[in-house]
C-alpha cells in the first residue's frame, strides 16, 4: 500500500437559515465544529451514532461533497474537497462511495439496474470489453450473496428493498473504494437481511481494507460492527472511543441515558424502573450555544456546564468525552459518579 488516504474534517459547521426557522431564532446549527479524520491505514469502521436531527446525515452529505459547510474544512489527502479539479476530483469520486438509507431514491427508475454498474466501468475503465465487464459485475453480486440472474436486466421497482441495498453494496465491491460513507443503510431492512448487510461490510474491511463511516441511530448495530464509535448530539460529537468502551462503558451522561433506553431483545432483562415523562414541546433552543447542550437534562450538571462548551476530555486510553466530569480536576471521583447509573 502506498500513501495512506485520509478524509479530514476540521471544525466543520453547518448552519441553516430561513424564515421557516423563525421559531428558533431564524438559525439552526445542524453541525457544530465537528472534527475527525478517517484514514485508510489502518482500515476501520467508524460508527457515527445519533438520534434524529442530531446532524449525522448532514455530515454524510458534507463528506460526499453534496453540501458545502458554512464553516470549517473537509480535506481529502490534504486538499479541500470543494476545490478539487481534474484528476483529483475523479480520484475523490472514485475513492469515496456512498450507500444511502433508501436505495430506491438513488436509482433512476427508467434505467435497468445494470446501468449503475456499466457507467463506472466505462468512466473509470475498470474492464475492457463486455465479457470482462460482465464477469466483474457477477463477481460483485456473488460477494453480496445475490444471484446475478435475479437482478441483472431488471428495473429498480422489481427488486425488494434488501436486494436494492445489496445491489448498492455490489457496486461498492466492484469499485473497491478506500472509503464508504454509509448513511443509515440498514434502517429499512429486516433483521435477517440487516445482519447479512453488516457481515458484508465487515468482510469488505477485512478483505479489501475499506474504511467505512457508518451512520446509524441504532446502538446495537454500532456495537456489532465494532471499530470506533462516535456519538453525536445536537450537531456536536460528545463522545468517541472504541465501540466496546463507548457502548458498554459510556462516559458522557447523554450517551449513558441513550444506552439505558435501548430495549434489550431479552424478556428477562426488562426495564424495572420508569422514566420521567418530560414535557418538552417542539424544540426550544436557547440563544447561547456556548455551553454544554445537555446541561438541562444532565443529572451531574454543574455551574460551568452553562458557561462554556466543554472540550474533549480523556476518559481512558482512546476514549474521550466532551464533559467536565472528566476534567483534569476531580478525575477519579467524577468518573465513578458518572459510570454508576
Amino acid at each position: 500500500m502506498n500513501q495512506p488516504k485520509e478524509i479530514a474534517l476540521r471544525d466543520v459547521t453547518q448552519t441553516f437559515r430561513g424564515g421557516a426557522l423563525s421559531a428558533i431564532g431564524g438559525e439552526l446549527v445542524a453541525v457544530d465544529r465537528v472534527s475527525f479524520t478517517l484514514s485508510s491505514d489502518p482500515s476501520r469502521i467508524t460508527s457515527l451514532v445519533g438520534e434524529s436531527g442530531s446532524g449525522k446525515s448532514t455530515i454524510a452529505r458534507i463528506i460526499l461533497g453534496l453540501q458545502r459547510p458554512t464553516g470549517g474544512t473537509v480535506t481529502y489527502n490534504g486538499k479541500d474537497i470543494f476545490c478539487l479539479e481534474g484528476r483529483d476530483y475523479d480520484t475523490y469520486r472514485r475513492d469515496v462511495q456512498p450507500v444511502f438509507q433508501d436505495p430506491y431514491g438513488i436509482f433512476n427508475p427508467f434505467y435497468r439496474v445494470d446501468r449503475i454498474f456499466w457507467r463506472p466501468i466505462e468512466k473509470f475503465g475498470l474492464a475492457t470489453g463486455k465479457a470482462r465487464g460482465l464477469r466483474l459485475i457477477e463477481e460483485s453480486f456473488e460477494a453480496v450473496d445475490l444471484r446475478p440472474a435475479d437482478v441483472l436486466g431488471r428495473y429498480p421497482h422489481q427488486l425488494s428493498g434488501g436486494q436494492r441495498q445489496r445491489v448498492m453494496l455490489a457496486r461498492v465491491h466492484m469499485l473497491r473504494p478506500a472509503f464508504i460513507i454509509a448513511d443509515e443503510p440498514v434502517s429499512m431492512l429486516d433483521a435477517a437481511i440487516r445482519v447479512m448487510f453488516l457481515n458484508v461490510q465487515l468482510d469488505f474491511r477485512e478483505k479489501y481494507g475499506m474504511t467505512t463511516l457508518f451512520i446509524t441511530h441504532d446502538l446495537s448495530t454500532a456495537y456489532y460492527l465494532g471499530g470506533e464509535t462516535m456519538v453525536i448530539s445536537q450537531g456536536r460529537i460528545v463522545e468517541r472511543g472504541r465501540a466496546e468502551d463507548v457502548i458498554t462503558r459510556p462516559a458522557h451522561p447523554y450517551t449513558q441515558q441513550l444506552i439505558a433506553s435501548v430495549p434489550e431483545p431479552d424478556p428477562d432483562a426488562r426495564w424495572t424502573d420508569r422514566i420521567e415523562v418530560s414535557e418538552q414541546t417542539a424544540e426550544v433552543k436557547s440563544a447561547s450555544r456556548d455551553r454544554c447542550l445537555f446541561a438541562e437534562r444532565c443529572p451531574h450538571v454543574k455551574e460551568r456546564c452553562w458557561k462554556t462548551r466543554p472540550a474533549m476530555m480523556d476518559v481512558r486510553t482512546g476514549h474521550v468525552a466532551a464533559c467536565y466530569l472528566y476534567g483534569a480536576a476531580s478525575h477519579e471521583e467524577s468518573r465513578d459518579a458518572a459510570v454508576t447509573h
Partner: protein
C-alpha cells in the same frame, strides 16, 4: 383458564394486483386472551399489518377479505363476527370495543385542528357522547398517557413525535375499548421516546386492564412489552408462544434464525447468521412449507406438505405453556389432528 377475547380462524386477505392475486394473509388462526399483550412479529411484507387491519375490517380496496372468521367477545357478553356482521354493527363495536393505532398515525393528526377537537371528532363519531361531554373527557385521557391538560389546546406541530404518538394512543383508548391494536407504535421514534411509548402501552394493560395487540418487526419491543408473541412468515403464523419461550427456546427454524439475527448491545460479539435468500412473494408463496427454500433444516416432505400450526406437547418437561408451531420437525404434532390453534392455551 384464560378468557378468550378474540378468535381469528382461517383468515384470508387478498389484494388484486395487475400481476395476479396477492395472498397477503393466508389462513391465519390466532386466539387473543383478555388482559394479555400479544405481539405479532415478522419481516416486512409478511402480512402483519394487513392482519391487524383485517381484524377491524378496515382493509381497503384493492384489498378484500378472502374468507375466515374474526370473533370478538367483549365484556358485555355479545359476541360478534366482525367479518360477517353488518357494517352498522361493526361500526358500533369499532373504537368502543376495539380500537386501532395505525402505523404512522402520529403523522395523520389534522395539522389545522387543536388536539382536543381531534379527540371530540373520534369520540362523537363512535358514541352518543355530546361534543361538550367529549371535550370534558380529554384532560383525563391525556393524563392517562402522561400528557398535561394544556396539550388539549395545542396544535400537532407544537408537539414532539413522542407526544403526538401518545395523543394517538389516548384517542384510541377514549371509549375504554377491550382491545387496542397498535401497528408499529415505536417505529421511527428516538430511543428515549420509544421507551416512553412502551411504558405508556404497558400502563394500558397494567393500570386499565386493556388487552393489546402490538404489531412490530422490532423484536426488542416484543421482548420488553409482550406476554406472548406470534411469529408471522409469508402470510401465516409459524409459531406462537410465551415471550420467554420465543426468545429462549424458539422452535420454528424461522423463529430461531430471526432471534439469532438480532445484534445485542454488550456481551460477547459473535458473527450472527442472518437468513439467506429473499423473502418470498405473496403473489406465489412457495409450495409446502413456505419457509423451505430458506430453511437450514429442510426435509423432503417440506417441499409438498404444508405443516399445520399445532400445539407442541411439552408436558414431558412440564414447564410453561405449550408452544404452537407449524413445522415438520415436530412429528408428535401429527397424532393430534383434532386440535387446532383455537384451543385455549393454559397460561
Amino acid at each position: 383458564m384464560p378468557e378468550t377475547l378474540l378468535e381469528i380462524a382461517d383468515l384470508h386477505v387478498h389484494y388484486d394486483t395487475v400481476r395476479g392475486k396477492s395472498r397477503a394473509v393466508d389462513g391465519v388462526n390466532l386466539t387473543v386472551y383478555r388482559g394479555e399483550i400479544l405481539g405479532i412479529s415478522g419481516e416486512s411484507g409478511c402480512g402483519k399489518s394487513t392482519l391487524a387491519a383485517a381484524v377491524l375490517r378496515l382493509v381497503k380496496p384493492p384489498g378484500y377479505i378472502g374468507g375466515g372468521v374474526v370473533r370478538l367477545h367483549p365484556r358485555d357478553g355479545t359476541s360478534i363476527d366482525l367479518l360477517s356482521a353488518e357494517e352498522s354493527d361493526v361500526r358500533r363495536v369499532r373504537w368502543r370495543r376495539l380500537s386501532y393505532v395505525p402505523q404512522g398515525s402520529m403523522n395523520s393528526l389534522n395539522p389545522v385542528m387543536r388536539i382536543e377537537d381531534q379527540f371530540t371528532d373520534a369520540i362523537t363519531a363512535h358514541s352518543n357522547f355530546s361534543k361538550r361531554d367529549a371535550r370534558r373527557m380529554v384532560p383525563e385521557l391525556l393524563r392517562q398517557v402522561g400528557l398535561g391538560a394544556h396539550v388539549a389546546r395545542m396544535y400537532p406541530h407544537e408537539l414532539s413525535g413522542g407526544m403526538k404518538q401518545r395523543v394517538c394512543i389516548a384517542i384510541a383508548i377514549a371509549l375504554k375499548p377491550d382491545l387496542v391494536i397498535a401497528d408499529e407504535p415505536t417505529t421511527a421514534l428516538d430511543v428515549n421516546v420509544q421507551r416512553l411509548i412502551i411504558q405508556t402501552l404497558a400502563d394500558l394493560r397494567d393500570q386499565m386492564g386493556m388487552t393489546l395487540i402490538i404489531v412490530t418487526h422490532d423484536m426488542a419491543v416484543h421482548a420488553e412489552l409482550c406476554d406472548r408473541v406470534a411469529v408471522m412468515y409469508a402470510g401465516d403464523i409459524v409459531e406462537v408462544g410465551d415471550v420467554r419461550q420465543i426468545f429462549k427456546e424458539p422452535r420454528h427454524p424461522y423463529t430461531r434464525a430471526l432471534i439469532h439475527s438480532i445484534p445485542k448491545v454488550g456481551g460477547v460479539r459473535t458473527r450472527l447468521g442472518g437468513i439467506g435468500g429473499n423473502a418470498p412473494s405473496p403473489l406465489a408463496w412457495p409450495q409446502g412449507c413456505r419457509f423451505h427454500p430458506r430453511c437450514s433444516q429442510v426435509m423432503a416432505r417440506c417441499f409438498a406438505d404444508t405443516p399445520r400450526l399445532l400445539p407442541l406437547d411439552t408436558t414431558a418437561n412440564g414447564s410453561g405453556p405449550s408452544p404452537i408451531v407449524a413445522c415438520h420437525l415436530y412429528p408428535e404434532q401429527d397424532g393430534s389432528r383434532v386440535t387446532t390453534a383455537l384451543t385455549p392455551v393454559p397460561q
